[in-house]
Symmetry: C2
Subunit: 173 residues, 2 copies
Amino acid sequence: MAGISEKRIAFLVEEGYEDLECWYPKIRLEEEGAETVVASSSAGVKKSKHGYPIEANYSAMELDVDSLDGVVIPGGTGSPDKLRRDEAVTDFVAEIDSQNKMVAMICHAGWVPISAGILEGRTATSYEAIEDDMVNAGVNYKDKSVVVDANLVSSRHPGDLPDFLKAIIEKLS
Amino acid sequence: MAGISEKRIAFLVEEGYEDLECWYPKIRLEEEGAETVVASSSAGVKKSKHGYPIEANYSAMELDVDSLDGVVIPGGTGSPDKLRRDEAVTDFVAEIDSQNKMVAMICHAGWVPISAGILEGRTATSYEAIEDDMVNAGVNYKDKSVVVDANLVSSRHPGDLPDFLKAIIEKLS
């Protein structure tokens, strides 16, 4: 349990985030003793695809990369579609990646790292709907429950959450 | 991981179940390799408090206690309020308990074991709203994130999920 208890992980969410793709990783990392923070384009309450509220503690602009050990980006079509348009979000994701800290994404979340310009030549997966966007961004695409390429961890959909979290915890340990 | 990979756990849900109190334990146990089955008063799709659908594979009447290692009962006011009125549900919970298999409950779920008549003299917790019902049923009530009394595991609300799952996994191991 001590493995990741000192780690601090940011979650990037906007309105329409996929309920389980945010909450399962968040509670799971907390179960391991890690600290989680939630950021969005602006601080405040954001509702999931089904209306489950989450409090975003920070705007992306307020996130301090040096104080963090990685980022988890949940899917839900609307959430990454909004986040990718916020330069503070994409700058943050690019900086996390440039420091070789974990970037974990699931489902439609791949849109955010695409717009952060960090996926060319990387191996990853995503929800099938955005496979073309991933390939066009230069991704070596795999259809697997979880794909790990150095600091990049990716999964396809909520059914992959058990494998996604095993990989995330191993990556952070 | 091998600790609970042979275990088979039932979840009891009805319309209005609390999203995270069902899905976090369910995915978490699957992450550990356990098998989960979902039962309700009738088989079919049930929606959470926020509308997240889950497929109930069985009616409670179809559950075979001998093939199971325990039950998790999520909260959400509407779900246990409906479940407790189904004699097949309360008979099932009483039988699981009589075989000393795990009975795990969170939030308002305590209503179901109350109606199954298994809580007298037991130590447990619940959501604060039903503390009086728990005490009147003979519970030695504790206000703690998780309470374990032999085969009975109880927690108060979604914020307790990390502690609830640690205790459930330890109990099943």
